[in-house]
């Protein structure tokens, strides 16, 4: 607590005594005490960080460098295998496919989530009647439990009885096997995930828009800039920091998506929607026999990928600040 001289002087006249009389001797004793106080306040946080962040991470690495089959898991005598699990995972025939699927899933989801989210945010920037209600409605995907929205998407996209195919058939388009054909299953889960991610993008980008001062737009309007020109010359550049963090968070969220894919296709058909996250989940919990070590290895690879993008983000941000 820093109290400036003037404050202290004025405090003299008040009755808040706590900070008024600091004799030299007491002050040094207090300073020593304050170190303990600081530690006392930090301790819960430190315990929390170790228990819920450091330990799981270490455990995950530990799982991935040992050969934990179920027997070793129970008896605790797993053999140390070094990087063998990582080598096995990377050289597995499924790895390339899962990596490609992850890339398609993440890029496909992010591009559309961001574009649609931004369009909606700009749209809602101009308040109009019912704009608040409409904006709230766009949050619904966020509020629904994933098991509900995932199952609903799966029903809607059902090959034989789904409402999507019924609608398409009304326009003379034949049956599309959304979730049961290897050609379209990825498209189907990406569509569902885009729908899920729009509210997140909308909310953050909308908040970012509030920080752009209105007089910039006024000046631009006086100079004769139209809506399109205003968007590309003002909104988009000024929104860049917010866009970057939105995309980074979206990337991290999307990389580790398991639930929506698992509910809709369980990674099928024929691994067409098996991303790295799905692969990891299936190895660990999806079969009758938990295979924890390869699952942890895949999971750690995902963490590394997310970290790489995190560092890329930090670097570009630093460069922006420098310039």
């Amino acid at each position: 607590m820093t109290v400036s001289a003037t404050d202290r002087a004025s405090a003299m006249h008040d009755d808040t005594v706590a900070v008024t009389v600091p004799p030299e001797r007491r002050r040094s004793a207090l300073r020593q005490g304050s170190r303990w106080v600081a530690f006392g306040f930090a301790a819960p946080l430190l315990v929390y960080l170790v228990a819920f962040y450091a330990y799981p991470l270490i455990r995950s690495i530990d799982l991935s460098i040992h050969d934990y089959n179920v027997r070793a898991f129970v008896q605790g005598d797993a053999e140390f295998v070094g990087l063998q699990n990582y080598i096995d995972v990377v050289s597995a025939p499924l790895f390339g496919k899962a990596l490609l699927n992850t890339a398609i899933f993440v890029i496909g989801s992010l591009v559309f989530q961001y574009a649609i989210g931004l369009a909606l945010a700009v749209f809602f920037r101009n308040s109009f009647r019912l704009s608040g209600v409409l904006r709230a409605l766009f949050l619904v995907p966020w509020l629904l439990p994933l098991i509900v929205s995932g199952s609903t998407w799966a029903w809607m996209l059902n090959s034989d009885n789904g409402i999507v195919n019924a609608a398409l058939q009304a326009f003379g388009i034949g049956q599309i096997n959304w979730l049961t054909s290897p050609d379209t299953a990825m498209t189907a889960v990406v569509i569902a995930n885009i729908w899920l991610g729009i509210p997140f993008n909308l909310v953050i980008l909308y908040a970012g828009l509030q920080n752009i001062p209105a007089d910039v737009y006024e000046a631009a309007a006086l100079d004769g800039a139209g809506a399109w020109r205003q968007f590309w010359s003002i909104t988009f550049p000024l929104l860049r920091p917010v866009s970057a963090i939105t995309l980074l968070l979206g990337l991290v969220y999307t990389l580790k998506v398991v639930d929506i894919i698992w509910i809709m296709t369980a990674g099928g058909p024929a691994n067409a929607t098996t991303t790295l996250a799905i692969w990891s989940y299936r190895e660990a919990f999806g079969t009758g026999q938990p295979d924890l070590s390869p699952a942890a290895a895949v999971g750690n690879i995902l963490i590394v990928i997310a970290l790489i993008f995190g560092f890329l983000y930090l670097r570009t941000q630093r460069r922006q600040e420098d310039s």
Partner: protein, 417 residues
């Protein structure tokens, strides 16, 4: 504003409370199960049967008979296996677990289960084909408390309309003819679950075994023939495309719409079938060249994990005995309405009360455990490849021949054989 004097004690108190809360969390998990001498812990995969249900009371009654209280916890099937493994790792296994039969060999492999011999349980009256799922290398690790399996439900109204006699279906050719008949009459043919989980393998196995194929050779000509039967149904429009993603529940929902002539499903739907808006019937799943195809056995084993305090085994044995007498089996069957007792004595008693279950009793008698043939812990690895192959072939990503060849290669690598 808090004065400085107060701040230090408050901070210390906050830290102490926080640390205490954490310690409390860690501490309580230790004392979880294997608690006091007169409380026995019991896990089962029936969360639908809540506290106070007939089933919960039946479990408690067995505890009372042994002179102890039973603390029952219900998990869903997959998380039960994981919970059991975790508890074994922490040394806090429950006294009794009811476990889905293909998972028994996985747990037994960890050394966390007692054998029936150690516990002094008599397994001689149990049907050999049902007990096999719990046998690994000559040891038996539990007793089935009941069994269920798959059969073919039919919509009697549709069959009558199409002029198909269910009794005429005795092999694949006659089943195909029946499907051609009902689809020609404008109905939908058959629905089954081809989902890429254990359920998909479970549903495919009767056809796989019915063709004479063996799980150690997924790419045999017989196996290819079985998969071609399924892909043929989808191609010819006898089965809907959605079977690729169907779980057994979804399959049953489709059947209950009344549009489908046939559905492959299990004993557990008996009551639901009786309540359908149309007349239903069941036939056993036919094998390729006639006769009954061996369907995989479903149902739970009662198992006793190893305890540090071996003096608990006596009471555990008495609880298990109570569940596995002939009367006990019939009572379980009545409580669940769909469980077939695993002994001939129990089956006779059940048929006296419910003669309509005859087809099911006979289906259970010719059923086969998935982990039998000493496959044990290899089964989950093989099964994963099998359902993947079924998915690839049904969705058209690969031909049945290619899909099964790839599956066999992957299974051989996974099992190291």
């Amino acid at each position: 504003m808090i004065t400085r004097k107060l701040r230090v004690p408050i901070a210390v108190a906050v830290a102490a409370v926080a640390a205490g809360a954490l310690a409390g969390c860690a501490g309580s998990s230790d004392s979880g199960s294997s608690g006091s001498a007169d409380t026995y812990t019991w896990w089962d995969p029936y969360p639908q049967h809540e506290e106070g249900s007939d089933w919960a009371e039946r479990v408690q009654a067995c505890g009372n008979e042994a002179g102890v209280t039973i603390e029952r916890t219900a998990y869903d099937t997959t998380s039960l296996t994981n919970q059991a493994l975790l508890s074994a790792q922490e040394g806090t296994s429950p006294d009794v677990i009811l476990l889905d039969n293909p998972a028994v060999s996985t747990l037994a492999d960890t050394g966390m289960l007692t054998t029936t011999e150690e516990l002094g349980l008599d397994t001689s009256p149990i049907d050999k084909n049902l007990l096999a799922a719990g046998e690994i290398d000559g040891e038996t690790y539990g007793i089935p408390i009941g069994a269920n399996t798959l059969a073919l439900y039919y919509n009697a109204d549709i069959l009558k309309d199409a002029g198909v006699d269910p009794a005429s279906i005795t092999d694949w050719a006659s089943l195909d003819a029946a499907l051609a008949g009902v689809t020609a009459a404008g109905h939908k043919g058959i629905t089954f679950a081809g989902i890429n989980t254990e359920e998909g393998s479970f549903q495919f196995l009767p056809w796989f075994w019915g063709a004479g194929a063996d799980l150690t050779a997924l790419d045999s000509p017989q196996a290819v023939e079985a998969l071609e039967l399924w892909t043929g149904w989808v191609k010819k429009g006898y089965a809907p495309n959605s079977v690729i993603g169907n779980s057994q529940n979804t399959t049953w929902e489709e059947f209950l719409t009344g549009d489908f002539a046939f559905a492959e499903n299990g004993t557990w739907q008996v009551n639901s079938a009786a309540g359908a808006d149309f007349a239903t019937g069941i036939i056993e799943l036919p094998a390729l060249k006639g006769g009954v195809a061996p369907a995989p056995t479903g149902g739970e084993f009662i198992i006793a994990p190893v305890q540090k305090d071996t003096s608990r085994y006596d009471t555990t044995k008495r609880i298990i005995d109570c569940m596995t007498t002939a009367e006990g089996f019939v009572e379980t069957a009545d409580t669940f309405a769909y469980y077939i007792p695993p002994t001939s004595e129990g089956q006779e008693e059940l048929l006296k009360e419910h003669p309509e279950l005859e087809t099911w009793v006979s289906a259970v008698q010719s059923a086969k455990g998935r982990t039998s043939d000493n496959l044990g812990t290899d089964y989950p690895l093989i099964s994963e490849q099998l359902w993947t192959a079924v998915q690839s072939a049904l969705s058209g990503a690969a031909s049945p021949q290619e899909a099964l060849a790839a599956a066999q290669a992957a299974a051989a690598e996974a099992t190291g054989k």
